[in-house]
């Protein structure tokens, strides 16, 4: 992985690792609860780098304010354009002339006053998990169908590959749209839709590899030695066909993340309150003119993730695809 002559691979591996870490560690990295609704009246649509004082009342409510000042036994809260005064006795976190807690919106806040940075981090968990699981599903289906077609040959091959052609010709997005609209409200359904529309090219790839490998001497030798066909497939054909499949998979996951984002943007993917990058952009669409940050940052996150996986895939291909390696010299 840390090949000096392959900066693509290094950059891609580094970015993917960072993204994976950010997604896994979201609960520790995120400054706030992504679904927390704290005083939306004062905290909605705050621009990036906003810092608000957080006043905790004795009955446990949080009030957010731009500024807090103390005059006698009253606490004066400046909330946007209005000022509210509160008896100091009703505040639980008094400290000097103000309060001891603050809320910081590094990437701004959305229409409900939720922290965009925290939601981008948590949204990354959802988007990456859905993309990865859909990819695993596509790989499982694709490898099974492709290996069966390639190894069995004859009419099995013919039937399976015609089915693959048929699936490839389906208007994927429309189909995914219909399925998502009709069977909505579940991450599992979303993963099945994404994986179910992405396995066909894996199957083609695996079939091609298996067909080529079948004629190689070590496979012929195994067959001549009387090794059973299933064992040949499992021990000789599949392990050798795996490299191109892995390279292809690392390029494909970016597409899956993009389709998931599009479906979620259209309101048919991940459902609220679960944050996902696509649905966050949809939230930001309504306030594009006044609160650009709500839509901008999740889009940057999507682009970053897709770039990262593609760099990794390109790097892997440069390194493991012998055809390109010779073309390079």
């Amino acid at each position: 992985m840390l090949d000096r002559r392959n900066p693509l691979l290094r950059a891609g591996a580094l970015l993917v690792t960072l993204l994976g870490f950010a997604a896994l560690a979201a609960p520790w990295l995120a400054p706030a609860d992504p679904a927390a609704l704290e005083d939306p009246a004062a905290s909605s649509y705050r621009p990036p780098l906003t810092r608000l004082a957080a006043v905790r009342t004795v009955d446990g409510r949080w009030l957010l304010a731009d500024r807090v000042a103390r005059t006698g036994d009253q606490l004066i809260l400046t909330r946007r354009d209005e000022t509210v005064s509160l008896p100091a006795a009703s505040v639980a976190n008094l400290a000097g002339d103000g309060v001891s807690d603050t809320r910081r919106f590094v990437l701004g806040s959305d229409h409900l006053g939720r922290d965009v940075l925290s939601r981008v981090l948590y949204g990354g968990r959802v988007s990456l998990a859905v993309g990865t699981l859909a990819l695993l599903l596509a790989l499982t289906l694709g490898v099974a169908v492709g290996a069966a077609a390639g190894a069995a040959g004859g009419w099995v091959d013919l039937v399976l590959m015609r089915a693959v052609d048929a699936m490839l010709a389906f208007p994927t997005l429309l189909l995914a749209l219909a399925a998502a609209a009709l069977l909505r409200n579940s991450l599992a359904v979303l993963i099945f839709i994404l994986g179910g529309t992405a396995w066909m090219s894996v199957a083609r790839l695996v079939r091609g590899e298996v067909l080529a490998l079948k004629e190689r001497e070590f496979v012929l030798a195994a067959r001549a030695a009387g090794v059973r066909p299933l064992r040949i497939l499992w021990r000789h054909l599949l392990p050798n066909a795996l490299t191109p499949v892995i390279v292809d998979a690392s390029l494909r996951i970016g597409d899956l993340i993009l389709v998931e984002a599009a479906l979620s943007f259209l309101g048919l993917g991940v459902q609220p309150p679960t944050p996902s990058w696509g649905s966050m952009i949809a939230d930001g669409r309504d306030a594009l003119a006044t609160a650009w940050w709500v839509a901008v940052f999740p889009g940057v996150a999507i682009a970053l993730a897709v770039v990262a996986f593609n760099l990794l895939g390109d790097g892997l291909r440069d390194r493991y695809d012998p055809r390109l390696a010779t073309a390079r010299r």
């Binding site: 010709a169 749209l177 219909a178 984002a261 943007f265 952009i281 594009l288 682009a303 897709v306 010779t326």
Partner: protein, 324 residues
């Protein structure tokens, strides 16, 4: 040419079977999913009896197999049924939306091809050098940008901050009063952002494809021979090498044709473009079964036509394909 026409007939027959499969799958997906269109009328002021009556009118109370057969029989006659939302023939509703989508695609495809080719060829010619890395990164980044997000950013930049272009729809209010030239200009201004966004995001993938297949070609002997013969590098790239990357490119662009139409769905939603994509999206949300099925048929026909067109060009260019 006899072999070519046989090729077309064979492909058309396969395409027909395929289309039938797609439509059948969509039909059952729609009807087997929980709920039906009358649930949109799910409000206490509409008595259940009336809902039942509506289901009867739509024919939803009949056995599924009967519904399927009667729909199929009508569709075979070219009758796609009335849209339940628009209360007009679904085929006509689609036909009215089609020009807007076709216009968007017609504007975006040449832009995409030009941009993708330019980026891909430029990167391939500088293989391994600085310029290659920069151009590859540019292609990768524009490929990675979600289309709908880039659309929103374009609106933010060019409709909100610097209001140069309108953010939505195909015409201005009152465009009917304009003369023909002013009206065309008005449409062009509305077309600019969606077409550009669509072209740019698609060009990223195309550029990557062009670069990689050109590099494959560069390693072949005949290119070395051409270079050795003293043919100018420009000619080697644009004439000798590019011609051999043309067949796969034609196939990719052929597959892009339906993608531009169904794939512009998200862009149509973002820019409130009155095309087929947005219509299909609304139809799915309102469960307008006849319209969804008609739109799926249209998308399927376009996929089939796109591949067929690409195959035909390919067969005309490459005799091996014809005789396969």
């Amino acid at each position: 040419m006899a072999s070519l026409s046989r090729f077309v007939v064979r492909r058309a027959a396969a395409a027909f079977v395929l289309l039938l499969l797609v439509l059948t799958a969509t039909f059952f997906l729609l009807h087997l999913a929980p709920g039906d269109p009358t649930q949109l009328l799910d409000n206490p002021r509409i008595p259940p009896a009336q809902r039942a009556h509506l289901r009867e009118i739509y024919g939803l109370d009949r056995p599924l197999a009967v519904q399927y057969l009667s729909w199929l029989r009508a569709a075979a006659r070219g009758d796609w049924g009335d849209s339940w939302v628009h209360h007009r023939p679904a085929a006509r509703v689609l036909a009215e939306a089609f020009p807007a989508t076709a216009l968007l695609a017609a504007a975006a495809l040449p832009l995409e091809a030009a941009l993708g080719l330019a980026l891909g060829v430029a990167a391939a010619r500088r293989r391994g050098a600085w310029g290659d890395h920069v151009l590859r990164t540019v292609s990768l980044v524009i490929y990675a940008l979600p289309t709908f997000w880039l659309g929103l950013m374009a609106i933010l930049a060019f409709s909100v901050r610097w209001p140069i272009f309108p953010a939505s729809h195909l015409r201005s209010v009152g465009a009917g009063e304009l003369g023909p030239l002013a009206a065309a200009l008005d449409v062009a201004r509305h077309l600019a952002l969606p077409a550009l966004v669509l072209a740019v995001t698609n060009a990223g993938g195309l550029a990557r494809f062009v670069r990689n297949s050109l590099l494959d070609t560069f390693s072949q002997d005949y290119i070395r021979t051409a270079r050795a013969a003293g043919i100018s590098e420009r000619r080697v790239v644009w004439v000798h090498a590019l011609r051999n990357t043309l067949p796969p490119l034609v196939q990719v662009l052929g597959l892009q044709l339906p993608l531009l139409l169904s794939g512009s769905l998200v862009i149509e939603v973002v820019f409130s473009w009155p095309g087929v994509g947005r219509l299909a999206y609304d139809a799915v949300l309102t469960r307008d079964y006849p319209l969804v099925l008609a739109a799926t048929a249209l998308a399927g026909v376009l996929v089939v036509l796109g591949t067929l067109l690409a195959d035909l060009v390919l067969a005309a260019v490459d005799p091996r394909v014809r005789h396969a």
